[in-house]
């Protein structure tokens, strides 16, 4: 059963071949056994999951089943779950049990889905390797066959590894600069970062508020569509969520791609791009041509400024967002503080890891008197230019395609000592967050036995089109079905 997609499991449950309780037991057994190697979960909520599965079976018996009723899945440990520890991968929140659900959590609960636990992540979503988690690194299931310990990408590396290893068919994730797409690419799964404002941020622990967006991760595009159906929509508790109708994202999956205009941004096929990765991506694009799409080269002239602008804006926002972790009300507090300043400084020195501290320092610096104009304001201007690049490009084409990452999964420890090299993992993904547009990563081949991701970028609120393009590709390829050994 653990090989099946969300859509397939829904059909099994609907047919009555298996109950949700049985299905949950099977998944929990597999998960507990397999995750010893991967460390993709921070918390496994066995009792809660079985209780939810029981309720799901009752819901179905009462004739009130949704496509999610009784289907197992997992939440990234950045989404608050009422009564269940929500750590954000940090020592700071290791003991934090929220008394409320995130809107995303609440939506899955209402749909009757069964959450098996909370997945591992880079601390406060800051990282591209899931190595900075207080709860230990997650290992990419690809490479284990060759005895190699490779990173799953990050920050949603736990969700990506768990989906790739068939521990769950789907998992929620978040993306601030690439944290859904990069791990999806490195683990060979399908992930979608929606338009900023499409999915509520309420109860999703903030890293950089103007960039953070909750999204989906599963093996198929269809399952991503099923997830987005549950997650998308206006939320009065999030002032930045957008009040626009939510389509049924599964309804348009089968539309033909004939006439689809694909743009290839020149700047995303350059620089340190691994040649073998490029070849896999270009070969995927040829598949699209076979499906009736046309391809042309386009330009995003300010693409080379994206990393610099991102690493000013995101840390600046983070420096304020993380001020609430001060030891006063919840979370970690240092032992025996001798006064207020001592409580603040030791709580934060002991509770945050190195990368989080680095970004708080960078952000604080960028906002300081005398530097604000040169850094923060300048970065915001660059952000406008980047946004305009995409607006201009979408006058000519329907979607943009590129590699998701410049190279496949790297080895654990390989980039840990060099933050800037690590930041360059996001070179093809951050601009999308700065612009606020949606993008996916779709499995598109392998290099040395490691998955390669194709990034599909769309205009604002074009999630249905992206899912349609990914689904059609998955009808003629099987990269997304490959299983790590």
């Amino acid at each position: 059963m653990h090989d099946k997609s969300v859509a397939e499991l829904a059909r099994e449950l609907e047919s009555g071949k298996i109950s949700s309780v049985e299905l949950t037991r099977q998944f929990l057994g597999h998960l507990k056994q397999e995750d010893e190697q991967l460390n993709s979960f921070i918390t496994i909520t066995e009792d809660q999951a079985l209780a939810d599965a029981h309720a799901a079976d009752e819901q179905r018996a009462a004739g009130k089943a949704t496509p999610w009723t009784g289907v197992p899945f997992a939440h990234k440990d950045i989404f608050c779950t009422n009564g269940v520890a929500t750590t954000c991968g940090s020592k700071m929140l290791a003991n934090f049990v929220p008394p409320y659900d995130a809107t995303v959590t609440e939506n899955f609960r209402k749909a009757g889905a069964v959450c098996l636990g909370k997945t591992n992540m880079d601390e406060f979503a800051m990282g591209s390797s899931t190595e900075s988690s207080h709860f230990g690194a997650t290992t990419n299931p690809w490479g284990l066959g060759k005895g190699e310990k490779r990173v799953p990408g990050g920050s949603s590396g736990g969700s990506a590894a768990a989906v790739a290893a068939r521990l769950v068919p789907a998992a929620t994730a978040t993306d601030t600069g690439g944290s859904i797409r990069q791990p999806s690419a490195l683990c060979g799964v399908t992930g979608l970062k929606p338009t900023y404002g499409r999915v509520s941020r309420y109860g999703m622990i903030a890293f950089a508020s103007s960039l953070d967006q909750g999204g989906t991760m599963a093996r198929t595009a269809e399952d991503n569509a099923l997830m987005l159906n549950v997650m998308a929509g206006f939320d009065p508790r999030d002032s930045t969520s957008l009040d626009r109708p939510v389509p049924d994202y599964t309804a348009t999956l089968d539309e033909p791609l004939k006439g689809l205009r694909i743009g290839l941004p020149r700047e995303y096929f350059a620089g340190d791009l691994n040649g073998a990765v490029e070849e896999e991506v270009r070969s995927a694009i040829r598949e699209y041509e076979k499906l009736g799409a046309t391809v042309k080269e386009v330009s995003l002239p300010h693409a080379n400024l994206a990393i610099a602008a991102y690493y000013v804006i995101a840390p600046a926002e983070a420096s304020a967002n993380l001020s609430r972790f001060d030891g006063a009300r919840y979370g970690y507090r240092c032992a025996d503080p001798k006064d207020l300043l001592d409580m603040y400084t030791r709580t934060r020195a002991e509770g945050f890891g190195a990368e989080v501290k680095r970004r708080i320092l960078v952000g604080t610096y960028a906002l300081s008197a005398g530097y604000f104009d040169a850094y923060y304001l300048k970065a915001q201007k660059v952000r406008r230019l980047i946004q305009q690049d995409f607006i201009d490009a979408f006058r000519e084409v329907d979607v943009l395609m590129s590699p998701t990452t410049p190279s496949p999964a790297f080895k654990q420890g390989e980039k840990s000592d060099d933050p800037v090299t690590m930041y360059l993992e996001d070179v093809f993904t951050v601009a999308i967050n700065l612009a606020g547009i949606p993008a996916m990563s779709v499995p598109a081949g392998f290099v040395d036995g490691l998955p390669v991701g194709l990034q599909i970028i769309g205009d604002y609120f074009s999630e249905a089109r992206l899912l349609n393009a990914a689904h059609q590709f998955q009808q003629v390829t099987d990269w997304h079905q490959r299983e790590p050994q």
């Binding site: 006063a328 009300r329 207020l340 603040y344």
Partner: protein
């Protein structure tokens, strides 16, 4: 050396919304600590602010009341600093683009002139919680009930030249916000908090001196004292050739002293930047028109009306109109009492004096405007003398009885005004005092005669057991003695 005093005000006005500016928690004062603080107010991870429309409406009403421009697109920013009563580690406020732009108020001066004080801007922000340093045995308690209460911070230009003008401006703004109903105006509970910026410069100089900011002024009286105190402090330093340090000072009203809280060098770098959790606030014409149409009568308009409707002079009308509660009390008194001038005298005299003596506000008054009006009626129709009226007021205030006529009866304060009865008493008294009558009639100086009348009043009041109408006795005496 002669000095010019330069004063500007910063006023925090707590808006009387039912819920907080970014959460659904109640803003009611005086609840058990932390019972009005939800996950948003506690800055729990993942929670987000949702703006309260009523706070924007109140801010716009204030802007319109001080003749200000309303900014169509205002922006919330984060002001970053660590303090335990600031749960997010930043205050959400406005800096570059406040909701209320430049405006002005006109204040009445003792000289009878009016002076215009310019408003630099007013912005919306959230209040912090409270740190409680008592009752925790060397520790500090945090109460977050107040955290997130909406405030507007009003900043004036440095247009005031002495304490009287500053207090007049403060009272004017107090009258405006209470008349608008956007703030309860209670300074002792911190609903309205005034900070005073003061600097001195050589008389006639164009260059402003270094200013200080004085905080913690929870009454108009303390504000006046604090300004006098700070002006004197600065003058002493300057005259001895010293320089003023730019700093924030904390005033202690009970001891009439101030101390430095922090200097400019010690001030935080607040690292303001636009709050990414909140979109810019867009305000359209319809919203402004709706706010304009909902504006109640403001002190200036009320003053004009009091002059016309009640025939009050400029001074009395201005004083009674300045505070909406006092104005409403006066109108209730005048309506029942039918004699506006007498009502005005009693509201400003006995009534206000009593409130001040007991440090009460109009809202705490044990008597109503209608009751005072009943008293005015009995004074105007000569039922009681002014001495009797004070006794009735006393009985009303103490709660001895709440009915004016019942008090008059019970205390036997009713004046005898029956002229026949009074004439009889006069005749009897005059008959018993022939020498004094003769003396009076031989006197040719009317002034001395007038003085001699007093000699008959004592026995007359005694004869009437204190209830004879003194005015009528006087008239009858003059008639009888002169005849």
């Amino acid at each position: 050396m002669q000095w010019d005093i330069v004063i500007g005000l910063e006023i925090h006005v707590q808006l009387a919304t039912r819920t907080k500016i970014f959460s659904g928690s109640s803003t009611a004062y005086g609840a058990e600590p932390n019972t009005q603080a939800n996950a948003v107010d506690l800055a729990m991870p993942g929670t987000l602010p949702v703006p309260n429309e009523q706070a924007f409406r109140y801010a716009v009403m204030f802007g319109l009341a001080v003749n200000a421009e309303i900014e169509r697109r205002s922006v919330f920013e984060r002001k970053n600093y660590f303090y335990p009563d600031l749960p997010k580690g930043y205050q959400t406020t406005q800096l570059e683009r406040p909701i209320v732009g430049p405006g002005y108020v006109d204040i009445d001066l003792a000289s009878g002139d009016t002076k215009r004080v310019r408003i630099h801007h007013a912005h919306l922000e959230e209040d912090a919680g409270k740190s409680l340093h008592e009752d925790f045995h060397g520790m500090t308690g945090i109460d977050l009930n107040r955290a997130g209460t909406p405030l507007i911070e009003v900043v004036t230009e440095p247009d005031m030249a002495n304490a009287d003008e500053a207090v007049a401006c403060a009272r004017k703004l107090h009258g405006i916000v209470t008349s608008l109903g956007i703030c309860d105006g209670d300074m002792s509970q911190g609903s309205m908090r005034f900070d005073v910026n003061i600097s001195l410069k050589p008389k006639g100089s164009e260059t402003l001196g270094t200013r200080t900011e004085t905080k913690n002024l929870n009454s108009f009286r303390f504000m006046e004292q604090a300004i006098a105190h700070e002006v004197e402090r600065q003058m002493d330093i300057l005259e001895e050739g010293g320089t003023i340090v730019q700093e924030t000072r904390l005033y202690n009203g009970d001891r009439d002293e101030s101390r430095s809280m922090r200097t400019k060098e010690e001030a935080n770098d607040y690292r303001y930047f636009p709050c990414p959790d909140l979109l810019p606030v867009e305000i359209d014409d319809a919203f402004i028109d709706e706010a304009r149409n909902s504006l109640p009568e403001l002190p200036d308009a009320r003053k004009t009306r009091f002059k016309e409707q009640y025939g009050l002079n400029d001074y009395d009308a201005g004083l009674l109109a300045s505070d909406s509660k006092l104005a409403a009390f006066f109108e209730a008194t005048a309506e029942r009492g039918k004699d506006a001038k007498l009502a005005s005298n009693w509201v400003q005299g006995e009534f206000s004096a009593r409130l001040n003596a007991e440090e009460k506000s109009v809202a705490d008054s044990p008597i109503s405007g209608a009751q005072l009006g009943d008293l005015v009626v009995r004074i105007a129709d000569n039922t009681i003398s002014s001495a009797g009226a004070k006794k009735v007021f006393e009985a009303l205030w103490s709660g001895e009885n709440d009915n004016v006529d019942a008090i008059i009866d019970a205390k036997g304060l009713k004046q005898v005004s029956d002229t026949g009865e009074l004439e009889k008493m006069v005749d009897e008294v005059l008959a018993s005092m022939p020498d004094q009558v003769a003396q009076y009639q031989q006197e040719s100086d009317p002034k001395k005669q007038k003085k001699m009348l007093g000699g008959f009043m004592g026995p007359l009041m005694k004869a009437s057991k204190g209830q004879g109408n003194p005015k009528l006795f006087n008239e009858i005496l003059v008639k009888k003695l002169g005849g």
